[in-house]
Symmetry: C2
Subunit: 342 residues, 2 copies
DNA sequence: ATTAACTATGTAATCGATTACACGAAAGTA
DNA sequence: TACTTTCGTGTAATCGATTACATAGTTAAT
């Protein structure tokens, strides 16, 4: 019923050895053309399928790569994975998915599981902001398995990364708010021990500086990436002595929450208050009051990460290859920051 | 530098055989306690990692399962995958992702690639509506690899499935429109050779029947799941002699397009026209004019599919196990169909 | 005619772990 | 004492494919 056909079965049937069969299947030039044809036909007729596990064991390459993300059901990460899969598919690599749920322990487990599974490379967005998992990272590198960080990166020798210029993202978003005439701009940030949030914040700060706006510590709120967090932020900000007239949020979800709360209070957007987000989540475009947001080109980021992996895989150079790719963020200007109609 | 430690290395160091090491590591009761401890300590100190490929080859089980979806960057599929991953993680299975991009040829390739990779099971949402790939499906089953369809299913002997009751989904969405006083309800359907779309359509039709509304062929439009398609549909429907006053769309994206086009024409929603969608995409909730939609509980669907897989894997019964799980759809009533404020 | 050079294929080791079977030593039994 | 168990470990086959090396049969070269 479910007999597995091996090259030995083919060999037996043709009265030759498995070695010859293997060579014929691999198009080895030393094999006589007639034998080759015979083997190929027999293999097809017996419905032979190469056992990749045996091949993997022999060659030491599994043709699998691991991808670790905080969660998969976010448009950003799903799109990155899509990019990775599409780029690697033609090269015969399969993509194994792991989720950390923002838990460093899970990240650690995932790393070791992937090493155990003999993946040929690991592409990931880091969750651990402490140095807990550095040992695991080094373990990967030591096994000569390419390790590539995307989006959320971390400085580790020998690790390549594909990120966007978060500083610039923060800068252009803030600049757009300034261009609209906003004078006091607040910022919803994420966990600033993560470089991406730190850099977006720095870009925001620089934009203020470059345009003669004094930076106000009170205007910076560190929060989660959720609708609820956005609402709370507005509640806090509007109770300040001098409330702001705009927000640049590191999260589209928080931006949405802010907008919902502002509407609740009958504050007009963008006339009285402008809001810009980050990530360009699908809903920012769909809203009736569409939300200005910084696009991170996740698909491109995935493809680029995959390309970096392809460049590095198989290279036995003991010299550490380290490539840092930085993609340009793109501001999608929408109604939430468009006071003037062209 | 990157020396791979095997049980032979441990054996050599301790002057015993690899068999003993293997047994010690596997907690075989025949091994003396002192030896076991010694082996475990040595293994740890040498940083030994079991080679899963060797294990997989020997046991015939890879501990990988394959998941095939049309695309991963859709909230629905990403959520299903999340559910699958979370349910299977504690059991030591890794999830390999494949995308078909709605292309039957890709589906076919993916199936064979996964078989080649010796996955222990395949969970998928079918793309192929013809019978092109039936041979591939049978190939999977013949290898005694559990095959489970989720969401988009197909009748094949021996294949279990986890779906929602699409008929009921279509029914309750339509019923809600009727309850709001809508008299002539249109339906945007998908490719009806796919059972899910057929069933949603049938549910829609039945709801009309049960409520004394005559079914009108002209009101049913088959289209893609896109914003553009929704706009086009409205353009066609509003040119009919008797235009409808509501739409039940099999796609949230098409529902959104419809809403955008209706607004363009200054038609009030929900007062003059009601719209209900399907899938409960995140944006339906976020819109200012939130959209009523049928939830398919994708996370639960993923988990359930994984559980069905776990029940079936390893069972050598030649009797075909076939389990059909049908989840209940849940209507999320929102502003786009709420004429009365409680 | 004799040796060199190919050609096509076979032999056997290898990747790393598991496991049926074998076996010597220790312990228990009559 | 002689015989049976039990215990702990070693031997070697196995999973399926690849490949360095060996070899028999041809052909070419001197």
């Amino acid at each position: 019923m479910s007999e597995k056909i091996t090259i030995y079965d083919i060999a037996k049937k043709l009265n030759i050895t498995a070695a010859t069969v293997s060579r014929a299947l691999n198009n080895n030039p030393k094999i006589k053309e007639s034998t080759k044809q015979l083997v190929l036909e027999t293999a097809a007729s017996m419905n032979y399928k190469q056992n990749k596990l045996a091949l993997a064991l022999k060659s030491g390459r599994s043709n699998n790569i691991g991808v670790i993300v905080p969660r998969i059901d976010s448009n950003f990460f799903a799109s990155v994975i899509r990019g990775i899969e599409e780029e690697l598919y033609p090269h015969g690599y399969q993509v194994i998915i792991c989720q950390t749920h923002e838990n460093p322990k899970r990240e650690n487990e995932n790393l070791y599981t992937l090493i155990d599974a003999q993946v040929d490379g690991i592409l990931m967005s880091v969750t651990d902001v402490t140095n807990e998992n550095d040992k695991a990272f080094h373990n990967v590198l030591q096994k000569n398995v390419p390790l590539i960080f995307f989006d959320r990166s971390k400085h580790i020798d020998g690790v390549s990364s594909v990120t966007i210029n978060d500083f610039k993202g923060g800068y252009i978003a803030t600049k757009q708010l300034i261009n609209q005439g906003c004078k006091s701009i607040a910022h919803l940030s994420g966990d600033q021990s993560l470089e991406i949030f730190k850099n977006r914040f720095l870009g925001y700060k620089q934009a203020l500086l470059d345009n003669g706006i004094t930076f106000n510590e009170e205007y910076v709120i560190q929060s989660k990436s959720s609708v609820e967090a956005g609402k709370n932020a507005i509640n806090i900000l509007l109770e300040l002595e001098t409330p702001p007239d705009a927000i640049f949020s590191s999260s589209d979800f928080a931006a949405l929450g802010a907008i919902q709360e502002l509407r609740e209070r009958n504050i007009n957007i963008p006339q009285d208050f402008c809001v810009a987000g980050f990530s360009n989540e699908p809903f920012t475009k769909f809203m009736e009051l569409s939300i200005t947001s910084v696009d991170q080109s996740p698909l491109e980021m995935g493809k680029m990460s995959a390309r970096v992996f392809l460049e590095q895989v198989g290279k036995t150079d003991t010299i550490k290859i380290e490539k840092k790719v930085v993609l340009a963020p793109e501001l999608h200007i929408r109604k939430s920051t468009s006071r003037t109609r062209a």
